[in-house]
C-alpha cells in the first residue's frame, strides 16, 4: 500500500514538473498505462459478472432472514431491519430436517461410492487393455451421455416394477419401488447419474499412469487385480476423490429419476423442497396452538432453500480445488 502511494506521488511530481507533463508521461509510459486500463476494465467486467452469479444466492439469504413485515416494506432491500432466525426453525420443521438431512447424506454417499467403484473398474479396462470391440464400446459409452433420460426411464420403470412384483417387494416392506433399490441396482451396474462422465474422467487419468510401473509389476508376477489395486488405485486417490465428490453432488441434486423411483417413499432435501408449498400447512403449525397457523411467505421458502444447499456449499468450500482441478486435469475435453 505504501509503495503504491509513493508511486502515485512520483507520477504526480513527474506530471507537475513541466508544461504538458501529462502528455509527456503518457507518451513515455504508453504500454504501461494501456495495460493498466485494460486490466481495470477486465476486473470491472469480471466483478459485474460475479455479482450476477451470486445475486440470487445473496437475495435468497437476505430474504431468508426477513420477517413478514420486512418483506412488504419497500425500504428494506438487502438488510432486514430485524434479523430473525425463526424462519430457519420453521423451514427445518417443514423439511423434516433431521430425517431428510440424514437420508440425503446416506443415499448420496452410498450411490456415490458404488458409482466411483464401478466407474474405476470400467475406466481401468478401457484405459489399460486392448480388446475386441473396445472402440465401439467406448464410442457407445460416450454417446450414451446424450440420450435423454425419459426415453430410458419409462421402460426402466416398467422393468423394475415387474421385477419387484415377481420378488414380492412392495414399497411398504422397505424394498422395491418407493425406496432407493432401483437406483442402487443401476449404480451397481454402472448406470447412475452421469456415469459416462465419471468413467471418462477415470479413463483419461489412468491413461496418464506410466506403463513402466505396470511392466515392473508384471515382471514381479502381479495379477491384473493386483495391478489394478496396488498401482492404479493407489496412484489415483486424488482422482477418486474428484469422482466421488461429483457423484455425490449429482446424486444429491438428482430429482427427476428419484421422483420416479422413490417418490414420496423417502424424505430427502430435494423432494421435500420441491413440495414445500403443499407440506407447509400441515407441518409448519405442528405443536402450535389453534388459530395461530403460520402464513406461507417467501422467507420460509428461502430459508428452506438455504438449508438444503448448505451441505453442498460446505462440501464445495472444503473440496473446491478438487472440483475445479478435477475437470481441468482429467480433461473431459476429450482428446
Amino acid at each position: 500500500m505504501k509503495s503504491l502511494i509513493l508511486k502515485l506521488k512520483n507520477v504526480l511530481q513527474f506530471i507537475k514538473q513541466k508544461e504538458g507533463g501529462l502528455k509527456e508521461y503518457y507518451r513515455t509510459h504508453k504500454v504501461k498505462i494501456n495495460r493498466l486500463i485494460s486490466r481495470i476494465f477486465v476486473y470491472v467486467f469480471l466483478i459485474t459478472i460475479a455479482y450476477v452469479f451470486v445475486y440470487p444466492i445473496m437475495k435468497m439469504i437476505s430474504i431468508s432472514f426477513m420477517s413478514s413485515t420486512d418483506l412488504v416494506n419497500p425500504e428494506v432491500i438487502w438488510l432486514p431491519k430485524k434479523f430473525t432466525f425463526s424462519n430457519y426453525a420453521v423451514a427445518w420443521k417443514v423439511l423434516k430436517g433431521q430425517v431428510s438431512l440424514f437420508n440425503s447424506i446416506k443415499y448420496s454417499t452410498l450411490l456415490a461410492v458404488l458409482q466411483t467403484v464401478i466407474s474405476a473398474i470400467t475406466g481401468f479396462a478401457f484405459a489399460r487393455y486392448e480388446f475386441k470391440g473396445k472402440k465401439v464400446l467406448y464410442t457407445v459409452l460416450l454417446m450414451s451421455f446424450i440420450i435423454p433420460i425419459p426415453i430410458l426411464l419409462i421402460t426402466q420403470y416398467n422393468m423394475f416394477s415387474n421385477f419387484y412384483t415377481q420378488l414380492g417387494w412392495f414399497g411398504n416392506s422397505g424394498r422395491g419401488l418407493g425406496t432407493y433399490d432401483s437406483q442402487i441396482i443401476m449404480a451397481l451396474f454402472g448406470q447412475g447419474v452421469n456415469s459416462a462422465i465419471l468413467i471418462l474422467i477415470f479413463v483419461n487419468f489412468f491413461k496418464m499412469i506410466p506403463n513402466d510401473l505396470y511392466e515392473a509389476g508384471k515382471i514381479d508376477g502381479a495379477t491384473p487385480l493386483q495391478l489394478f489395486w496396488h498401482i492404479t488405485i493407489k496412484l489415483s486417490l486424488s482422482t477418486i476423490v474428484v469422482v466421488f465428490l461429483f457423484s455425490f453432488v449429482w446424486n444429491w441434486n438428482e430429482a427427476y429419476v428419484t421422483d420416479f423411483f422413490v417418490g414420496d417413499g423417502i424424505e430427502l432435501f430435494t423432494n421435500q423442497l420441491g413440495k414445500f408449498d403443499s407440506l407447509f400447512p400441515s407441518r409448519a403449525s405442528e405443536g402450535r396452538t389453534e388459530g395461530d397457523a403460520l402464513q406461507l411467505v417467501e422467507s420460509f421458502k428461502m430459508a428452506a432453500t438455504v438449508i438444503s444447499i448448505i451441505p453442498l456449499l460446505i462440501l464445495y468450500f472444503v473440496g473446491q480445488k478438487s472440483f475445479v482441478e478435477g475437470i481441468e486435469k482429467t480433461g473431459i475435453t476429450g482428446e
Binding site: 450476477v52 445475486y55 489399460r128 446424450i146 440420450i147 426415453i151 443401476m186 451396474f189 506403463n211 423432494n271
Partner: protein, 326 residues
C-alpha cells in the same frame, strides 16, 4: 507378408496390454448394466410408441394403434401441451446454447490473462454447478431472483416487440433468466480455460513477430484452436439444459404415464420425439462446430514462387535499410 508382420510386431511398442479376457471381466458389470438399462430400454420405448398400452392385473396389455389416426404420434401432435412445450424447448436451446458458449469463452479469455485473483473468480463462477438442482433452481426462478435487468422498458426492446414478437419473447426469456443462463457456464468456462492454456505460447510469439494484433491473434489462433472444445461444450450444454429438471417436457412425459387417456404408449411417443429433437440439436452442433477445418493447400507455379521470393527479398532489404538508418 511375413516380413511385414514381423516389422509390425517389432515396431509396435504398444503401451497397452493384450489380455482380452481380463478386460471383459473388468468391463462386465458396466456392459451388463448398459445392455439392460440403456440399450434395451431405448429400443423398448421406441417399440412402445406404436402401441396403446394398458395395465391390467399387473401385466401390460399391448394394443397396436399406429393405423388409427396416426396412433400415438397423431395424439402427440394433437396434444395441447406437448408441441408448444417442444417448440419452447427448441427456442430455449437455440438462445441459451450460443449465449452460454460465447459468455463462457469470453470469461475464459479474461480469466486466462494471468491477472491476480483469477482463482477466486473461478471459484465463484463454478459454484452454481454444485448447487443447481431442480427444486433450488425452480424456487429461485419462481421468486424472480433470476432476473436482474429492467429490460422491458428499454426502447430497443420495445422496437423489437413491435417488429417481431416471437423473437422478442425469446430474447426476453433469455434476459429474464440471465442468471440461470450464467449458471450453466460453470463447466464450460473450465473447459475453455483448459483448452486455452494448452495452446503453445510460441504461436502467439510468432504471430506477434509477423505483426499480428491481439485481436488477430484471438480470431486467427485462439478461436480456431478452441473450436473443437466449443463442440464438446455445446453438446454438454445441450444435454445439461435438456436434463435440467425445470424442462416442462419432462413433466408432461411423466404426467402422461399415469393418465388414463395416454398411458405408457403415449409417454413413450413423447419421449421418442423429444429424443429425436435432442439428437438433431446435437447434430446441428456437430455441423456448426464439430467438423475439422479443411486445410488449404496452395500450389504455386515456379514463376509465382520466384516472384514471391523476390518480393520477400526486397522487403528484407528495405527492413535492413530502416534498421541501418535508425
Amino acid at each position: 507378408m511375413a516380413k511385414k508382420d514381423m516389422v509390425k510386431t517389432l515396431t509396435n511398442v504398444s503401451t497397452i496390454e493384450n489380455q482380452n479376457k481380463i478386460a471383459y471381466l473388468f468391463i462386465l458389470p458396466w456392459l451388463l448394466g448398459f445392455l439392460a438399462f440403456v440399450i434395451y430400454p431405448f429400443f423398448q420405448t421406441i417399440y412402445n410408441s406404436a402401441f396403446q398400452i394398458t395395465s391390467a392385473a399387473n401385466t401390460l396389455v399391448y394394443e397396436f394403434n399406429l393405423n388409427v389416426n396416426g396412433g400415438n404420434f397423431g395424439t402427440a401432435f394433437r396434444n395441447l401441451y406437448f408441441f408448444p412445450q417442444l417448440l419452447d424447448f427448441i427456442v430455449m436451446e437455440a438462445t441459451y446454447v450460443p449465449t452460454i458458449i460465447i459468455v463462457a469463452f469470453i470469461l475464459a479469455l479474461l480469466l486466462n490473462t494471468g491477472n491476480k485473483g483469477q482463482s477466486a473468480f473461478r471459484v465463484i463462477y463454478f459454484f452454481p454447478v454444485i448447487i443447481m438442482s431442480g427444486p433450488v433452481a425452480g424456487i429461485l426462478r419462481y421468486n424472480g431472483a433470476g432476473s436482474l435487468f429492467d429490460y422491458m422498458n428499454n426502447i430497443i426492446f420495445k422496437m423489437l416487440v413491435s417488429y417481431s414478437p416471437r423473437f422478442a419473447s425469446a430474447l426476453s426469456d433469455l434476459f429474464a433468466n440471465f442468471t440461470m443462463v450464467l449458471w450453466f457456464t460453470g463447466i464450460p468456462i473450465i473447459l475453455f480455460i483448459n483448452a486455452l492454456q494448452k495452446i503453445n505460447t510460441n504461436l502467439y510469439e510468432a504471430a506477434k513477430i509477423d505483426g499480428a494484433s491481439s485481436w488477430q491473434i484471438l480470431w486467427k489462433i485462439k478461436v480456431p484452436i478452441v473450436k473443437s472444445t466449443g463442440f464438446i461444450v455445446s453438446i454438454f450444454t445441450i444435454v445439461q439444459i435438456g436434463t435440467y429438471s425445470l424442462n416442462p417436457i419432462y413433466n408432461t412425459i411423466k404426467g402422461s404415464i399415469y393418465s388414463t387417456a395416454g398411458g405408457i404408449g403415449l409417454a413413450s411417443t413423447f419421449a421418442f420425439i423429444y429424443t429425436l429433437v435432442v439428437f438433431s440439436l446435437v447434430g446441428i452442433a456437430f455441423l456448426l462446430l464439430g467438423r475439422e477445418p479443411k486445410s488449404k493447400v496452395i500450389h504455386l507455379s515456379s514463376i509465382q514462387r520466384a516472384s514471391l521470393e523476390a518480393v520477400h527479398l526486397k522487403r528484407q532489404s528495405v527492413n535492413k535499410g530502416k534498421v541501418n538508418e535508425s
